[in-house]
């Protein structure tokens, strides 16, 4: 039963030289890699909470794959990448349920559009899941699910349009965000703060001895995140036209990703060593993530040594932010703001400082890009913060945001999900 598709459109000018399959191969791989980041995040976060909440914490990531997975196909892509309206919002009804996209429809004459839909869809999935770290161990599961549906539709999708769609107003102003420093990390990190304001602290924070149930999971998650991030960043070369996707820009983004993560991991444990004489495994995992976050907006625009600096500074800033939390006693359970908010903002600004490939930053003697980046960060932060407050408040006043006192005490796993993470006793 051989299938014969109409290939005319496929053999478009650029692809006639044969990069089509190579580009598509890399974008399929990248999309799969970004999907894997979600279980990676589940492990990263799941390992840090107490045993009684390990499953609900992991489900925060997994359920994003389910609900945003569906939302993106139904309306998300249409809002983010549909025809532009005033630079503010996208919408093409042919994108509803993707019914107007045939398998042979192309994106940028480079890959099937469906592959681009998938690649972008994984970003939409992981972003709200990042927020969950801030509200772990106390948010009600149903409220969380409702929250991410609204947040994705009302905050993420428009923001992605502004920054990444060709008609988006920030895009047109020249704000650079290679793979999501503002769209993904700043928005998630700042939204985390807004939610924390509405939710309050865990009953045992900061007095109780809250210790991670399984740091092996956290390390494993960090490893999967690093691995998947190569798809996240190097796959974002898809936005660069005029060269093969699996080409120079992807290679550069891959390199800066690796470099920043390594430098950040190293610096984080050095800081711990100086500060507490204990280089920790949670520290190396945190440094990895901080470095990856910070290089995300810059990945295709900076050279490897600057990426190293971006990663190193990211660890200093994020480590500092986390120490502030202990001082200010707000309860960002797993430091979604401290790592993603701070790291993402730094990375976005650093792009304006260090960029030299395809754009010129402060080190190249031009301040314009830096100002654009500042604008991008401010807009993303302001929009995400205000929007999250509104959505969060609406949920709080209707179905409530927080688990009951008893659920929190006995653990959300057994009380909300009817399960325990582990049954490891022989008895």
């Amino acid at each position: 039963m051989m299938m014969t598709l109409e290939l005319t459109s496929w053999l478009s000018p650029l692809l006639a030289n044969g990069d089509g399959a190579g580009n598509t191969a890399w974008m399929l791989t990248s999309s799969a890699l970004v999907l894997l980041m979600v279980p990676g995040l589940a492990l990263f976060y799941g390992g840090m909470v107490r045993q009684k909440n390990v499953l609900t914490t992991m489900m925060h990531s997994f359920v994003a794959m389910a609900v945003i997975g569906v939302q993106w196909i139904l309306v998300g892509y249409a809002i983010a990448f549909g025809a532009d309206h005033f630079g503010l919002i996208g919408w093409s009804s042919k994108y509803l349920g993707l019914v107007g996209i045939s398998p042979t429809t192309e994106y940028h004459h480079a890959i099937p559009e469906l592959v681009f839909v998938m690649f972008q869809g994984k970003f939409a999935i992981i972003t709200p899941a990042l927020i969950s770290g801030a509200v772990a161990e106390r948010i009600k599961f149903s409220s969380y699910v409702l929250f991410i549906i609204l947040w994705s539709t009302l905050i993420y999708d428009p923001l992605a349009h502004w920054v990444w769609a060709e008609g988006g107003w920030l895009f047109k102003l020249g704000v650079l965000d290679f793979a999501g420093g503002t769209v993904v990390h700043v928005s998630a990190g700042v939204s985390a703060v807004a939610l924390i304001l509405l939710l309050g602290r865990r009953r045992d924070y900061p007095d109780g001895a809250i210790l991670p149930n399984n740091l092996v999971l956290t390390l494993t998650g960090a490893g999967l995140l690093w691995f998947g991030w190569f798809g996240f960043n190097a796959g974002s070369a898809v936005a660069v036209t005029g060269e093969p996707i699996a080409g120079p820009t992807a290679g550069l983004a891959f390199t800066t990703t690796q470099t920043a993560a390594a430098a950040a991991a190293l610096v984080w444990i050095l800081l711990e060593w100086l500060h507490r004489k204990k280089p920790t495994s949670l520290g190396i995992a945190s440094g990895i993530v901080a470095g990856l976050v910070a290089v995300t907006p810059a990945a295709g625009y900076v050279i490897p040594v600057w990426a190293m600096v971006i990663g190193a500074v990211a660890s200093v800033l994020c480590y500092g932010a986390v120490q502030m939390k202990a001082k200010l006693k707000y309860d960002d359970s797993l430091d979604a703001f401290g790592v993603h908010g701070v790291g993402g903002a730094w990375g976005a600004l650093a792009t304006g400082i260090f960029c030299s490939v395809g754009a010129t930053g402060l080190i190249g003697g031009s301040g314009a890009q830096f100002l654009r980046q500042l604008l991008g960060v401010s807009v993303a932060a302001g929009f995400a913060f205000a929007g999250t407050l509104v959505i969060g408040l609406a949920i709080k006043l209707t179905i409530g945001l927080r688990a009951t006192e008893q659920q929190e005490r006995d653990g959300l796993d057994i009380t909300i999900h009817g399960e325990h993470g582990y049954h490891l006793e022989g008895v």
Binding site: I210, S286, Y319, V322
Partner: protein
């Protein structure tokens, strides 16, 4: 018969076992039961770090050794445990405690034997 219950540092378990063996091991009577417990005493729990913030659990991990003994072995056992479980240089907070309880009956399940010979 007595039931001797000693709460000791986990890292001393091997030493305690050897010390007990040396005073008790006559006619195969060296048997004991071990379990992990959490102690709350004057000793503070270990400090762990969570992204630079010290977290101190109130409890410290201890090991409880339970051993059923005929009366004449009680004193040698206590001495042996003290010797092996005490921190070098005069002892330290957290070294633990020994409780001695009266034991009314002891039954060997395998044979149904009772009393001192079943211990």
């Amino acid at each position: 018969m007595k039931l001797v219950v000693a709460i000791i540092r986990p890292e001393r378990l091997d030493a305690v076992r050897e010390a007990l063996e040396s005073v008790l091991d006559e006619a195969g009577s060296y048997r004991l039961t071990v379990q992990k417990v959490e102690g709350h005493g004057r000793q503070r729990g270990q400090t762990e770090y969570f992204r630079g913030t010290p977290v101190q659990s109130k409890l410290t991990t201890k090991v409880q050794v339970t051993i059923g003994l005929n009366d004449r072995y009680v004193e040698p056992a206590i001495t042996a445990i003290i010797r092996a479980a005490r921190t070098e240089g005069g002892g330290a907070v957290g070294d633990g405690k020994i409780f001695v309880l009266p034991l009314e009956e002891c039954v060997r399940i395998r044979t149904g034997e009772r009393g001192g010979s079943a211990i």
